[in-house]
């Protein structure tokens, strides 16, 4: 259970970093688009770990 909590915490950290990359890359399309795709993959990790979006 502790390892799941640790994973969830790391996923949220990943999300924070990817979201920040996305939010600050409007003028750098390649980074912006790749960050967007990473965010989609991170959402699947959140589903895997049953992290609530609400």
């Amino acid at each position: 259970m502790d390892s799941l909590k640790q994973m969830a915490s790391e996923v949220e950290e990943l999300r924070r970093i990817a979201q920040n990359l996305y939010d600050t890359s409007d003028d750098f399309p390649a980074v912006n688009r790749n960050a967007k795709r990473i965010l989609a993959s991170i959402q699947m990790l959140r589903i895997n770990l049953e992290i609530s979006s609400f």
């Binding site: 965010l39 989609a40 993959s41 895997n48």
Partner: protein
């Protein structure tokens, strides 16, 4: 759950109505800016005009995740070389299966525009270990391999797993048996729809039932007549389903029209998801009253394909003659049939009477006379006016 039931249900006809309005092409069913949409698919439109299905990239990741869950449960692993013999086009079909295989780490071989013989030869050449197709096409490919290529797929090819979609069949016992014998492979069912996602799957233990992927879907079963919730095992009902993570065109309380039956047993695989005995037993709009008796096309298929000496194809025509319902069942005699046509007819008549409680006008044809299908086969034709039944 009581709160969930206060949300109105959505039906395919409502989606068509919404999409006929502006903004083009999704109407106001689209819940993200159009810029966010990366994928277009559509339903096959077997009931008329197709429903368009927009998805964002995250939705598409989600589709792949649904499929990765089911394929992993069916034993797909990175060592598998998976051949996909389907036309990659506007229909969702096995697209998500393709991306799910990539996600798992399988080697994916797209068999797109090849014809059937080329697909079989390619599978043989590269020693593919798994494939995905409709039950109709699984049987059709085996037939072509034997007749046109002089190959026995159960011996000459290396396919060990087959995942079916698009039609019932992989959980109809006689059809499953025919496919498994023809290919020397385990055949698995899965259930889903363009507007919903891949919500159910048969696992490696082959319990004769579908698991509902309850990590990603909320499944409700309703009584066919009263619409009241069915929560006790053993009673048939209609599946109303919600996809929990779909965003571009959400699927909330979608009336799937799929008839299912909850069962109380636990599966040997260890998953605790709900189990639906026999998978999708029929469609609410397919199961119809003939001569006052409820008739499910799947029951006829199970009888036809359980009789050695009959081919895989069949066609059922229901029509009104005067005031009386009349059912014609057309079947084909296999070229290697071990019995006479008269014996076949007698056997078929007895089994149909036992399993469906109905009498039929039987037509036995030579092999190859009935139409062949690659995708969704239309073998059940009800020619009565809607008001008649």
């Amino acid at each position: 759950m009581e709160d969930v039931r206060r949300v109105p249900k959505v039906e395919k006809a409502m989606m068509l109505s919404v999409q006929s309005k502006e903004p083009f092409p999704y109407g106001d069913a689209l819940c993200v800016p159009l810029d966010e949409v990366t994928e277009f698919r559509q339903t096959s439109g077997t009931t008329g005009k197709p429903v368009y299905q927009p998805d964002t990239w995250q939705d598409w990741e989600w589709w792949s995740e649904c499929w990765a869950t089911l394929l992993w449960a069916q034993g797909y692993r990175p060592r598998d070389r998976v051949f996909l013999p389907f036309g990659y086009n506007v229909f969702v079909a096995f697209w998500a299966g393709h991306y799910a295989c990539e996600k798992i780490g399988c080697e994916v071989v797209p068999g797109g525009v090849l014809d059937t013989q080329s697909r079989i030869l390619k599978m043989k050449e590269i020693r593919a270990s798994a494939m995905m197709a409709t039950p109709t096409y699984v049987l059709g490919m085996a037939d072509v391999a034997v007749r046109k290529l002089n190959l026995d797929p159960s011996i000459d090819l290396d396919i060990k797993k087959i995942t079916c979609a698009g039609e019932p069949g992989a959980l109809i016992p006689a059809t499953k048996r025919r496919m498994e014998q023809a290919w020397g492979a385990k055949v698995f069912d899965h259930a889903g729809a363009t507007e919903i996602g891949a919500w159910g799957f048969e696992c490696e233990a082959q319990p004769g039932a579908l698991h509902v992927n309850e990590a990603m879907f909320l499944a409700e079963i309703e009584d066919l007549d009263s619409g009241q919730p069915v929560t006790e095992p053993g009673q048939c009902g209609k599946l109303v389903i919600t996809a929990l993570d779909r965003i571009a065109q959400p699927c909330i309380r979608f009336d799937s029209k799929d008839i299912v039956e909850l069962c109380s047993e636990r599966c040997d695989c260890g998953r605790t998801y709900s189990l639906l005995r026999g998978g999708v037993l029929g469609r609410a709009d397919d199961i119809t009253k003939v001569k006052g008796v409820l008739l499910a096309p799947a029951a006829i298929e199970d009888v036809v394909r359980s009789i050695p000496g009959l081919g895989d194809e069949y066609e059922v025509v229901v029509e009104k003659k005067g005031d009386v319902d009349h059912i014609t069942l057309k079947v084909e005699i296999a070229e290697d049939s071990p019995v006479t046509p008269e014996q076949l007819e007698a056997h078929l008549k007895t089994e149909l009477r036992l399993k469906t409680n109905l009498g039929y006008d039987l037509q036995l044809h030579s092999y190859g006379v009935l139409p062949r299908y690659e995708v969704k086969a239309k073998r059940f034709k009800d020619l009565r006016k809607k008001s008649d039944n």
